[in-house]
């Protein structure tokens, strides 16, 4: 059975269609791998019974020659997507016992296409973090952690459980969400592919909100082709999300060519940071060479406001978070800690229910939105955000996609950077600009650091042009021939 856990989505789909394997067998293999991989703490909730009954139903449809895009394919879901009847915690104590009565649009689409739910993956609390150490359900361990290393390495965050589950071969693919880099940075740290589509591609309905103008769902998988397939099933217009785009979803997986001949690839010069590790810079240059060798034209471009992106983000995101998280008041659902009166009950509930990072961001957000500071912080940040968007518009007049590193380093150890919020925030220096401008971005594993840990390259595209970044990512994937596996990976 162990070979089944190594299968990717596209290959498993072909074997399911040929009836060489069954969805139940494939699902069992994943459930066993999840059991063996429990030390990673990648899942908050496992759903084995539901998985097996969904797999049986998929097998019945496959036997009739029917079935959707993902028929019989097991996937994991970040515990930020509401799943009807399955506890959804957002990694927070305040939602520790919350069982949604409704389904998020993205997950509903997956089940309509025949996918099988394996469980809900761990994450930074309310998706706020870059290391998956702010979860109320404990940190996730990066499967690339060398045996015996203490403390273990982080998987990145906030979608750390999804990334670790896919990298550790507990499942072939998983959903994530990305507000400032929460799909791409963990994908880079765990040596897998992670794509965040254009803002508006995937419905946000039923995804626990963090920062609504930045949040976007996306996909993790072990290949570009698999990530394209999962994303295709997730995307699409939804009248229940006022920012969802009414555009048709292209056939990203079927249309994937990996051809970059004639494409102009921009290298943003401001991404060459002082103090950037030489190995990250070298990998970036190698990525550019790979694309040039396949016929792309490399052009240097300028994104002059890059250095202001993180400070902008740390005004806009906390401001939106402080508004979104006001709903957790202990009245209608979630934790309630009784107090002297109504206001005291609110305060005790929120004081006990939120962890340190979430509290920090709510307080920052409340402060920047409060009377007397709104113009100086929030309005200013919205203006700088426009300048960041204009930077990208100017760059895309000269190129078709941008190539950058995904993160400024490889995975670090649990506990590192946690005493200094700002140094943790710097993890997202290359990814956060993409959310501010609402663009699609993808991270592809491209090499190993000197200490043998994965490093990713990021490709950024024009709005709605996921197809181009998928092709560029595929070209990088072919050239990089990244075959390294984490310790303890199952036999093929």
């Amino acid at each position: 059975m162990s070979g089944l856990a190594r299968l990717g989505l596209v290959e498993a789909r072909a074997r399911l269609r040929r009836r060489e394997i069954s969805a139940v067998e494939l699902t069992r293999a994943c459930l066993e791998a999840m059991e063996r991989g429990r030390h990673l703490n990648a899942f908050i909730t496992e759903t084995p019974e539901r998985a097996l009954s969904m797999a049986e139903a998929a097998d019945a449809r496959l036997a009739r020659g029917a079935g959707g895009l993902l028929e019989g394919l097991p996937v994991a879901v970040k515990d930020l997507f509401c799943t009807a009847g399955v506890r959804t915690t957002a990694g927070s104590k305040i939602l520790a016992n919350f069982v949604p009565p409704y389904e998020s649009t993205v997950t509903a689409k997956l089940w309509a296409e025949g996918a099988v739910l394996l469980g809900k993956t761990n994450l930074d609390e309310f998706a706020m973090g870059s290391s998956n150490t702010t979860s109320a359900f404990g940190p996730v361990i990066n499967p690339w952690t060398p045996p015996g290393r203490e403390p273990p390495l982080v998987p990145g965050g906030s979608s750390g459980g999804s990334a670790a589950a896919v990298a550790g071969f507990l499942c072939p693919a998983a959903t994530g969400t990305d507000t400032g880099g929460s799909i791409r940075q963990p994908a880079s740290f765990c040596g897998i592919v992670g794509i965040k589509p254009t803002y508006g591609r995937c419905s946000r309905f039923g995804i626990v909100a963090f920062a609504s103008s930045l949040d976007q769902a996306g996909a993790f998988a072990r290949s570009v082709e698999d990530a394209a397939l999962l994303l295709q099933a997730m995307a699409g217009f939804d009248p229940k999300d006022g920012t969802s785009a009414d555009f048709p979803v292209p056939d990203w997986s079927g249309g994937l060519t990996g051809r970059v001949k004639g494409l102009r690839i921009g290298i943003p010069k401001e991404y060459r940071l002082d103090g950037m590790p030489a190995e990250v810079e070298a990998l970036w240059a190698r990525g550019a060479d790979w694309l040039r060798a396949q016929g792309a034209e490399l052009v240097e471009v300028s994104l002059p406001h890059t250095r202001y992106a993180l400070p902008t983000y740390y005004i806009v995101a906390p401001a939106e978070a402080s508004s979104n998280l006001a709903r957790y008041d202990g009245m209608r659902y979630g934790l309630r800690v009784p107090g002297r009166d109504l206001v005291d009950t609110y305060k005790r509930t929120r004081g006990a229910g939120f962890g340190a990072e979430v509290r920090r961001r709510i307080l920052i957000g409340t402060y920047v939105l409060s009377a007397g500071y709104y113009d100086a912080y929030y309005l200013k940040a919205q203006k700088v955000r426009r300048k960041i968007v204009q930077d990208f518009e100017a760059a895309f007049a000269r190129c078709d996609a941008l190539l950058t590193p995904t993160a400024p380093s490889a995975a670090f150890a649990i506990g590192e950077k946690s005493d200094d919020p700002v140094s943790m925030y710097l993890n997202d220096v290359f990814t956060v600009t993409v959310n501010l401008a609402g663009l699609p971005g993808i991270s592809v594993p491209a090499g190993l650091s000197a200490s043998g840990l994965p490093l990713g390259l990021q490709v950024i595209g024009r709005p709605w042009d996921e197809a181009t970044i998928l092709d560029v990512a595929r070209a990088l994937e072919v050239a990089a021939a990244f075959r390294a596996l984490p310790p303890g990976a199952p036999e093929a």
Binding site: V99, P101, Y102, Y199, G200, P239, G242, T243, A245, D246, H305, Y308, P311, T312, Y314, I315, D329, G330, M331, R332, Y333, G334, R336, P338, G339, D341, L342, V343, D344, T345, K347, R348, R350, G351, A352, F354, R359, R360, I362, L363, I364, T366, Y367, S370, Y377, L379, K380, A381, Q382, K383, V384, R385, R386, K387, V389, P421, V422, A437, G438, P463
Partner: protein, 95 residues
């Protein structure tokens, strides 16, 4: 802009989050550091720049004013910390 203990206590109050007395001081330092860091935005010339509120200008059509769902009281109350006779039970609001 200097942040003091009283300001942080006031913001925590606005945010309706109880912060234990002994955690206030470290929080002042953390928040002050983050605010000092974001204040570098003041360097950017944003004269005449329109604040960005929506990243893609998607024009939303109005939907017909029709009831799409409803009649789901049980589902709405299912996660209530306390309920009675089909209502949420909350602390007394009006004395």
């Amino acid at each position: 802009m200097s942040l003091d203990r009283a300001t942080v206590a006031r913001v925590a109050d606005l945010a309706r989050i109880a912060v234990p007395e002994e955690q206030l001081e470290p929080l002042v330092a953390e928040l002050a550091k983050i605010l000092a860091w974001v204040e570098q935005l003041a360097e950017v010339d944003t004269e005449g720049v329109e604040p960005l509120r929506s990243v893609h200008p998607i024009r939303r059509a109005l939907r017909p004013d029709e009831v799409a769902d409803g009649n789901c009281r049980e589902a709405i109350l299912a996660n209530a910390p306390e309920r009675e006779d089909g209502f949420f039970v909350v602390p007394r609001v009006v004395e």
